[in-house]
């Protein structure tokens, strides 16, 4: 190998190492402090969840979570132009928060006991309920019980199927269903349309997003059986920001913005906005 080539390779290696170092150590600043000082925030949302967080071909993101995040950012003093969006996935959410690659995550991130030791949750910002998505012409599935013997989608990396098969739902009812594994809800919807399964079951917001995109081919049954507390994920121990986020959420419900955001994304899907005020805060820890 020529020495010039080796030089070029070493240079690119050095450049890579340099870029690593440069990105290291974002400092102990809380998200709130950063919002106040720099008027900038990096927010993690889903990029592939229609109705909640979806990246469009033109590069913009839209959805329920996105609008909620914009509102919270505005309350923290950051204009829309100061927000940098990043994609949040279940494998990178905790890492992103810990390393400060994102300041907050608004991405159908349910508050659970298992996650609390790793993440500080603001909110809940909304309480979703697990429901069922079926083909529009299917009248046989109306409730949890009627799922018995049906083929439902089991998405790994999601707990929804457990709530049915293992009985962790409001009615404490184990329903004997046939589980069909899949990698993502998008695959489930494809299977549902292709008659390879009978129902997709998860948070009603996610289902409504799909139902709206498919325009009448699929419907949400409207028989909810769990509560999913959507939180705002923050770096562990960032109480200051958490308090500010909770205040913003209360205000968002009071001034009617929440209802507006909800209607924009879920009207016409059968999903109803029933909340009269912000859900009781979980407390920042």
């Amino acid at each position: 190998m020529r020495s010039r080539q080796i030089g070029a390779i070493l240079l690119s290696a050095a450049a890579l190492a340099g870029s690593l170092a440069a990105c290291g150590n974002s400092g102990p600043k809380s998200a709130l402090q950063k919002a106040k000082d720099d008027k900038k925030l990096t927010i993690g949302v889903k990029y592939d969840q229609p109705g909640l967080g979806l990246k469009k071909p033109d590069g913009t993101v839209e959805g329920f979570d996105v609008d909620v995040a914009k509102y919270i950012a505005k309350e923290l003093g950051v204009p829309e132009s100061g927000i940098t969006w990043k994609e949040a996935r279940s494998a990178n959410r905790e890492t992103f928060l810990q390393q400060g690659q994102v300041d907050m995550i608004v991405a159908t991130y349910s508050i659970t006991e298992a996650r609390k030791p790793k993440v500080t949750f603001g909110g809940p910002l909304y309480i979703a309920h697990q429901d069922t998505l079926v083909r529009a012409d299917d009248t046989s599935i109306t409730s949890l019980d009627s799922l018995k013997g049906k083929r439902i989608c089991q998405v790994t990396g999601s707990n929804s199927w457990k709530n049915i098969a293992e009985g962790t739902n409001k009615e404490n009812k184990k329903v004997d269903v046939q589980l069909v594994p899949a990698g993502a809800y998008e695959e489930c919807v494809t299977k549902l349309k292709g008659n390879a399964i009978d129902a997709v079951t998860t948070d009603d917001t996610i289902l409504a997003g799909f139902a709206k995109r498919e325009g009448g081919a699929l419907k949400v049954t409207g028989a909810p059986f769990t509560d999913e507390k959507y939180g705002v994920g923050l770096k562990k121990g960032d109480k200051e920001t958490c308090d500010a986020v909770n205040k913003a959420i209360v205000k968002m419900y009071q001034d009617g913005t929440m209802q507006k955001i909800f209607d924009t994304h879920f009207s016409g899907t059968g999903l109803k906005f029933t909340a009269t005020g912000a859900p009781p805060a979980e407390g920042c820890s």
């Binding site: 690119s12 870029s19 690593l20 990029y47 592939d48 469009k56 990698g183 799909f210």
Partner: protein
């Protein structure tokens, strides 16, 4: 050994038989194609709504092309680094000193044993968790590090095999001319081995390129993330998207193989080797994306 030493040149009867077989295969293939297309059409998979997005300019300029570019960026940087890694550890494994040879072997075996998906995650989450400091590793760097470690280890084995394939007499002749170890390696072994290793290196580059698709796990936005996550989420057309994205990957890889083969043929003309060609790549890459 080329294929034609395995059988005699076809006579008139064999030629007739070949033609008949070709005709039958053509009919069978057309029949299968017809059945598949008909079944897809019955299922509504040819509805214009599902394919229309691929006729839109913004889907190409906003999603597919940025995906292709991100895939190529990660692939090119990792390819260069993996070659360096491969040379260092491949030669390290051939060292006469056991304190170089043993650790090099351990590194290579270790990184070959773990699924790339996990390596990429380590690259992102590992440094901060282990050191206790806030070290943030951007998705691009994590993908590049993972690809480098895995493909570099595979390439290390290719290099080792390549150098071992040069007949011993060559290095002995070098030493007898008074060359030192470095000189024998640089002037005699490496140039000949490179020619022998080219096919294996090219195949590994194709694997590497496809493996960038695993960046999805930490949300690196490459071709598969755009094509199999974002486009279907926008338009609800998972199967058409999978077909189109497969074609894009096949096209990129065929171009890559073609260019590499041209280069190889040119270098083979200008440089003669005594080494035997190193076998097909030692590994099939994990190429993918879950979720």
């Amino acid at each position: 050994m080329s294929a034609n030493v395995l059988f005699d040149a076809p006579g008139p009867r064999a030629r007739l038989r070949n033609n008949i077989l070709t005709l039958i295969s053509a009919v069978v293939i057309l029949a299968i194609a017809y059945l598949v297309i008909k079944a897809l059409a019955d299922k509504g998979q040819f509805a214009g709504k599902l394919w229309e997005p691929f006729l839109r300019g913004d889907v190409w300029t906003g999603q597919i092309l940025p995906g292709v570019i991100a895939t190529l960026e990660a692939a090119v940087v990792s390819a260069v680094l993996a070659l360096v890694f491969g040379v260092i550890f491949g030669l390290g494994r051939l060292s006469e000193h056991s304190w170089v040879r043993v650790p090099s072997g351990a590194v290579v075996e270790f990184f070959r044993a773990i699924p790339l998906l996990l390596l990429i995650f380590f690259a992102q989450a590992g440094p901060a968790t282990i050191s206790g400091y806030t070290v943030s590793v951007p998705a691009f760097a994590a993908v590049v590090i993972g690809l480098t470690l895995y493909n570099g280890s595979v390439l290390a084995e290719v290099f080792r095999a390549g150098i071992l394939s040069v007949p011993r007499g060559q290095s002995e002749a070098g030493y007898s001319l008074g060359l030192r170890k470095g000189g024998v390696m640089r002037l005699i072994l490496l140039p000949q081995a490179t020619t022998a290793m080219m096919p294996a290196i090219v195949s590994q580059m194709v694997v590497l390129l496809k493996d960038t698709a695993l960046g999805w796990v930490i949300a690196y936005e490459e071709l598969l993330n755009y094509g199999l996550k974002q486009i279907p989420s926008n338009f609800g057309n998972l199967i058409p998207s999978a077909i189109v994205i497969s074609l894009v990957y096949i096209a990129i890889n065929l171009v890559l193989s073609y260019v590499a083969n041209r280069l190889e043929r040119r270098s083979r003309r200008s440089r003669r080797t005594t080494a035997t060609v190193v076998g097909a790549p030692a590994a099939v890459g994990v190429s993918a994306g879950i979720e």
